[in-house]
């Protein structure tokens, strides 16, 4: 178990008529217990040179998929600019938290409540012949023989850019890598974007036996720079 501590100190000799000084220290633990957070994205530095005109393009710094929903996740952000007028606007989904001006930092919890990943199950059916193929997500899988289970295994062995797979041959279940309405699953029995090539007339079918439409996350952390020229953001996520 890792032990990570965060300490904040606030001090001012003249904000009030008496001096202000206090400090709070916290050991970063998982939700509801005393086990330390052990996973992190590491300390990152991201350059924003977005070009164009205001409003400038945003970047998603952390997706809710990156952390456990309702976990005791912590986000650290720092604007590395040294120009006083430059700031990053910080959003959680569509809600603006505030502006992080030059040199400012923020440290806050993050519930990371995720949306739903689209998922569907495709079952290899009919008969398959060597040379038959199925194209989905830009990946073409070609059957090496006439075995349905082998073809399902070949599909499962692919690395799809937007989907992960699991197999219970001859069925392969696809799950989107991130939560959003991908538009691929249109009902529990239909998807869009796949193509069967049945070279030898072997009656290959790729039936959809179940599917769930995805929903977008409403907790992604999004950052927008105030200028189109270069700005750097330092950031780190500690998560469950």
């Amino acid at each position: 178990m890792a032990t990570t501590t965060a300490t904040i100190s606030l001090a001012s000799p003249d904000l009030l008529t008496n001096s202000l000084a206090f400090s709070t220290a916290s050991t970063l633990t998982q939700a509801g217990n005393s086990t330390g957070l052990v996973t992190t994205t590491g300390l990152a530095r991201t350059n924003f040179t977005v070009g164009g005109t205001s409003p400038f393009a945003s970047k998603v710094i952390y997706r809710a998929n990156d952390a456990t929903s309702n976990g005791a996740n912590k986000v650290y952000l720092k604007n590395l600019s040294t120009t006083a007028s430059e700031y990053f606007t910080i959003f959680i989904d569509q809600e603006e938290m505030g502006r992080l001006y030059a040199g400012d930092w923020a440290f806050f919890p993050w519930s990371a409540v995720d949306g739903t990943e689209e998922t569907f199950t495709v079952t290899v059916g009919g008969t398959v012949a060597a040379g038959d193929s199925w194209d989905f997500d830009g990946i073409t899988t070609t059957s090496a023989d006439a075995n349905l289970n082998n073809f399902a295994a070949a599909i499962h062995a692919q690395n799809f850019p937007n989907w992960t797979t699991s197999i219970s041959a001859p069925a392969v279940t696809f799950t989107a890598r991130k939560a959003y309405a991908a538009g691929v699953v249109t009902s529990s029995t239909a998807i869009t974007g796949d193509t069967i090539t049945d070279l030898s007339g072997s009656d290959l079918t790729m039936g959809i036996t179940s599917g769930v439409v995805g929903t977008r996350s409403e907790a992604d952390i999004i950052v927008v720079p105030s200028v189109a020229t270069t700005m750097d953001l330092e950031h780190m996520l500690l998560y469950q």
Binding site: A6, T7, I8, M97, G98
Partner: protein, 153 residues
């Protein structure tokens, strides 16, 4: 002009193979300037005995505050590791502060009621919560009830 500094130390000897030590100190400035923030709500210590959501800071009613550079500090002083407060802003949940946790974040309120910061305790058995805002907002307190005009008056 007031000078208020805030420092974060983030340290671990075993989160990585090498030790982690981040230290940041910044000064609370008005937006886009090097003039210090000169207002504060004061440091409040509250004993919450309800799970009802509440606003720790006055509802900000002047939309010009959205370009300001306010700062917010909130801490859960509970010592029971299962107790937490949920911190929200507008329609979004930011996260949960468990026992001993704190947050420090910028706050540029858009308008009354649409971007208020809210706290929801997880238990009604009593939790100490600490919070403070440092800012240069305009018109953050509600009008006196004596000045309001009611339709049936």
């Amino acid at each position: 002009m007031a000078t208020t500094t805030n420092t974060l130390l983030l340290e671990s000897t075993d989160l990585f193979d090498d030790s982690l030590s981040i230290s940041n100190t910044s000064t609370c400035y008005k937006a886009g300037t090097t003039t210090g923030l000169d207002q504060t709500t004061g440091l409040t210590r509250l004993y919450a005995t309800s799970v009802t959501q509440f606003d720790p800071f006055p509802a900000v009613k002047d939309a010009t505050n959205r370009v300001k550079n306010g700062k917010v500090y909130i801490a859960n002083l509970s010592e029971d590791e299962t107790e937490f407060i949920t911190v929200s802003i507008g329609d979004a949940v930011i996260g949960k502060l468990y026992a001993g946790d704190f947050l420090w974040m910028p706050y540029s309120p858009k308008a009354s009621l649409s971007s208020d910061i809210e706290i929801t305790p997880s238990v009604a058995t009593g939790m100490f919560i600490e919070f403070m805002a440092i800012h240069d907002f305009a018109n953050i307190y509600p009008d006196s009830i004596d000045t309001r005009v009611y339709p049936d008056a």
